[in-house]
């Protein structure tokens, strides 16, 4: 298993934990990652509102072109929901002849071209379909026995490119990973509601009103921890949890981990490799058996 790896900007800052944990987990699973050299920001969902749709898609496509040049015939994997949606949607456009032609004309300015030959895939897709639950199970050294895990998948990774690898309304891929690790996935209220993503900075009160019912839903289902694959979901549920408690007079202390961090712990890796110190709500109490 060998992939072009697109880390995305969050992996260099707010989601450093995900970056390091994924590299360690991939190594354990025998996944070879070739980080796309000189990758650029995918543009997220904000760029098209500033420059329009086409330039935003070309910005994303520069990464696809780099990947096709550096490691042809290997899929691109990304660990960020937003990057996945943006790169995946841009990739699909290359089947349209006019788009393909125009995008390549723009990419020529950086001596690049892209034929559309690669697939863009999300971490959970790789885990579900390429690695598979058996391999994950076989890699586990400290099964997560007795750990109740609220899996919060978030929106963009399942809803942007539909009919892809998971059900957009009732996603299962991450719960299957939790099961393979020996943990117990719990169903909880508001698990499919949006955390409001990037509004956290420009409209924090709105984000608080959205993260509160999600965290509270997980707490009411007696979850020990929340797990997510998405950098923005992780940040909003973790960094805004204390503020949401204050505003809504709750007392939730639910650690929020990336799924990669939880895998690292179950694979017997130490707490430093799992990046537990990056968590704002302390995970050490709930995860004392594994960290």
């Amino acid at each position: 298993m060998k992939y072009n790896y697109y880390p995305g900007c969050a992996s260099e800052g707010t989601a450093l934990a995900n970056y390091h944990a994924f590299l360690a987990v991939a190594d354990k699973l025998g996944i070879e990652l070739n980080e796309i050299e000189d990758w650029n920001c995918c543009g997220a969902t904000v760029t098209s509102s500033v420059v329009g749709e086409f330039p935003a898609q070309v910005l994303a496509a520069r990464n696809l072109a780099l990947a096709e040049k550096q490691l042809p015939d290997h899929d691109i994997v990304t660990t960020c929901s937003s990057c996945y949606a943006i790169l995946g949607l841009a990739n699909k456009k290359f089947t349209e002849e006019e788009f393909n032609q125009n995008a390549n004309e723009a990419l020529k300015e950086d001596e690049l071209q892209y034929s559309g030959s690669l697939n863009v895939r999300f971490l959970l897709d790789i885990l579900a379909n390429d690695v598979g639950p058996e391999k994950i199970k076989a890699t586990v050294q400290k099964p997560l026995e007795g750990l109740k895990v609220a899996g919060y998948v978030g929106c963009q990774s399942v809803k942007a490119l539909r009919n892809d690898y998971d059900d957009p309304e009732y996603p299962q891929a991450m719960d299957n990973v939790i099961r393979a690790l020996g943990g117990e996935p719990v169903e909880f209220e508001n698990s499919n509601k949006c955390c409001t993503g990037a509004l956290a900075l420009s409209a924090p009160d709105i984000t608080l009103s959205a993260v509160h019912p999600i965290i509270d839903g997980a707490a009411k289902a007696n979850a020990d921890i929340i797990v997510t694959p998405c950098p923005l979901c992780q940040m909003n549920l973790d960094a805004y949890q204390a503020k949401a408690n204050k505003k809504y007079q709750t007392n939730n202390t639910l650690p929020v981990l990336f799924i990669t961090q939880l895998m690292a712990l179950a694979f017997g890796l130490d707490k430093k490799t799992a990046g537990l110190d990056y968590c704002i709500v302390s995970p050490y109490n709930k995860l004392s058996n594994w960290a």
Binding site: S48, P55, K159, D277
Partner: protein
């Protein structure tokens, strides 16, 4: 002012302009079934539901559409487009409307945020999340920036303490000038295509 005194202007040119935008064809596709507001994350905060926005575009009510907070409150969660019987990618329509609102000078906090974000992409090729917060604060003006810093100091400090806000920018792309050339070329091609 009573309702009867309000003169609403309808501008068919505005409708045409939206139809010609990247996702204008989808505005025509909407059948007003009302699924989108029932699924929308922030419908309670929007001053017009996504369905209403579509109808206002068709009516040519430029003012209501462009001053609405709806496009800016869309979180791009893609839930409505999942459930839309006609597959309308509503968030893409909303992105078009943001672009149009900005051209018309309707500026919101989210406009500032988008601008700051894009400037970082164009300058460095990658986002420096720590710097983004500061630059966004400066855009708001000193008074608002101070208020934001005060409101958000707990979140900011927690992020900083857990080493999640890079104090210095991580490296960008090797040749940002070439990246800008790609973006400029793409913008020029988009303009040509109309």
């Amino acid at each position: 002012m009573s309702g009867a005194d309000v003169v609403r202007k309808y501008d068919p040119e505005f409708t045409k302009k939206v139809y010609e935008m990247d996702n204008g064809k989808w505005v025509k596709m909407c059948m007003q079934c009302g699924i989108c507001p029932t699924t929308c994350t922030l419908k309670g905060i929007m001053d017009h539901s996504p369905r209403e926005i579509i109808q206002l575009i068709r009516a040519g009510d430029k003012e209501q559409v462009l001053k609405s907070n709806t496009p800016w409150m869309c979180t791009s969660c893609y839930t409505c487009s999942c459930r839309c019987p006609r597959g309308v990618p509503m968030m893409d329509v909303m992105h078009d409307l943001r672009h149009l609102a900005e051209e018309e000078g309707n500026i919101t906090n989210q406009t500032h945020m988008a601008k700051v974000y894009y400037n970082d992409v164009a300058k460095r090729g990658r986002i420096w999340e720590g710097g983004l917060t500061m630059k966004y604060g400066l855009k708001l003006g000193i008074g608002n920036a101070f208020k934001m810093a005060l409101d958000m100091q707990d979140v900011g400090m927690a992020m900083f303490k857990h080493k999640r806000l890079a104090v210095f920018p991580p490296k960008g792309v090797k040749n940002p000038a070439k990246l800008r050339a790609v973006l400029d070329k793409a913008a020029a091609l988009a303009k040509e295509e109309g």
